[in-house]
């Protein structure tokens, strides 16, 4: 159906068996040697072209940097509380914080005994104000230790001293230890808050979170118990994600 394409004509002589292939070439090189006739560019032109190229490269870098800085100011990659990245940070923070939490429990044991209730609250919310275009989120993991007080409550100063001792034994530097973006580290990190109450209340004394709840374990039970008053609650919060 389809014929073979025509072969181009060869410019060498046909070689057949018995020919002296290694003999001297039969064709001669052209008599005129190749000569570059165009004049070289002037030094000024070369310099101008070089400067132009440099300007273009610098401009591209500046524009690229500007665009990147705007992207960064808007928060860069948009994270969700259930993203793989955020979950990884949460998992790492949970392991670290639980170790430190046990140090707090151990240090408080002589004064308060063992906590009768424990709770966990994990919350993510916008890192900036609602009107901001920045899409950064920040996530915190809070551990609550509930100690009912039967008799006289220990003084806040003695508890604070105990908690300071406990914090000095923490295995990890909580501030920024697992935060994806390293900026604003000074303003973030772990915190220990002491709540004490001797009177019953109808309000949730810890209801101060905002944003979306990611995990809640034993929280309402603890709040219900705390509403009756006469308790010490130690709240240990770790900020584990900002980005």
């Amino acid at each position: 159906m389809f014929g073979q394409p025509g072969r181009p004509s060869c410019d060498h002589r046909r070689v057949s068996e018995g020919d002296d292939v290694g003999s001297a070439p039969t064709s001669e090189p052209p008599a005129d040697s190749f000569e570059y006739t165009k004049a070289p560019e002037s030094t000024v032109a070369k310099t101008v072209v070089g400067v132009l190229i440099t300007i273009v490269v610098i401009a591209a870098l500046v524009i690229g940097g500007f665009v990147l800085s705007i992207y960064d100011r808007l928060g860069g990659v948009a994270f969700e509380p259930t993203d793989h990245t955020v979950r990884s940070a949460r998992m790492k923070a949970d392991q670290m914080a639980r170790g430190d939490l046990e140090i707090i429990v151990k240090e408080l044991a002589p004064t308060l005994g063992t906590p009768t209730k424990r709770a966990l609250l994990d919350v993510c919310h916008d890192a900036h104000m609602a009107w901001s275009w920045n899409n950064d989120i920040t996530c915190t993991r809070s551990f609550y230790l509930y100690y009912p007080i039967a008799g006289d409550a220990p003084t806040a100063s003695s508890l604070t001293e105990t908690l300071t001792t406990a914090a000095s034994q923490f295995h990890h530097v909580l501030a920024c230890s697992s935060i994806g973006v390293q900026r604003d580290c000074e303003a973030t990190g772990g915190a220990i808050v002491l709540h004490e109450a001797t009177v019953a209340t109808e309000k949730d004394p810890f209801y101060e979170y905002e944003g979306s709840l990611v995990e809640m374990d034993g929280y309402r039970e603890l709040v219900f118990a705390a509403a009756k008053g006469h308790y010490v609650v130690v709240l240990f919060t770790v900020q584990y994600f900002l980005g």
Binding site: P81, T82, H84, R87, S88, R90, M91, D94, D122, R141, E202, K203, D204, Y207, Y209, S212, L213, V214, E215, M216, Y219, R220, E221, V223, F224, A227
Partner: protein, 196 residues
């Protein structure tokens, strides 16, 4: 390409296609399993909802609550273990009815009128600080009765302001349409119907 080589080539291509197809099928099945709107979760949801409707009607009849002034469903799915890389989800469904109360009754006396399988649940239930609340357990469902004192002004029932973990809202609550001006009782049946 010679005969044996050709056979090896097409054999390798066939094997590769098979592996890709198997990988796609496995990924689809796993994704379906972890999807709140996947077939497994949907099937469990349909099943539990049927039981919930029947249970709610039965409780309202037993307590002679009359017609509800509001009703709705709240269905949410969340990550089972958010502090891990496990993608499994847990889905909770709540079906409720709000009924006006003419007499001054408390939740515990109402709960006492309910026959088995409803029994008082000794463990902590999702109680509200401001409400008269009692929790009961059934065969597969949980029941909560919450009496709200009400006010002369229209308001949303306090019970719905509870904090809740919700990754995905499968069905939104319809309590925005409820306007309660007097004492009322919220009857809620709930269940954790899917973990997968």
């Amino acid at each position: 390409m010679t005969g044996p080589r050709r056979r090896y080539f097409w054999g390798a291509v066939g094997l590769l296609v098979l592996v890709v197809v198997v990988a796609i099928v496995v990924a689809t099945v796993v994704a379906q399993k972890h999807n709140p709107l996947g077939s497994a979760a949907k099937s469990a949801r349909t099943q539990v909802d049927r039981a919930m409707v029947a249970a709610l009607d039965d409780v309202a009849r037993q307590l002679s609550l009359g017609a509800p002034i509001g009703s709705g469903v709240d269905d949410t799915c969340r990550a089972t273990r958010p502090a891990s890389l496990d993608d499994s989800i847990t889905c909770d469904r709540m079906r409720y009815g709000v009924y006006a109360l003419s007499a001054n009754v408390d939740a515990h006396s109402l709960a006492g009128q309910l026959p088995p399988p409803w029994r008082l649940d000794g463990s902590f239930c999702d109680a509200d600080l401001k409400l008269d609340t009692v929790c009961l357990a059934g065969t597969d469902l949980a029941l909560e009765l919450a009496v709200e004192p009400g006010s002369k002004y229209a308001h949303q029932p306090v019970i719905f302001s509870r904090p809740k973990v919700a990754e995905t809202h499968v069905e939104y609550p319809e309590y925005y349409n409820i306007r309660v001006t007097g004492p009322s009782i919220v009857v809620m049946v709930s269940s954790t119907y899917y973990v997968g």
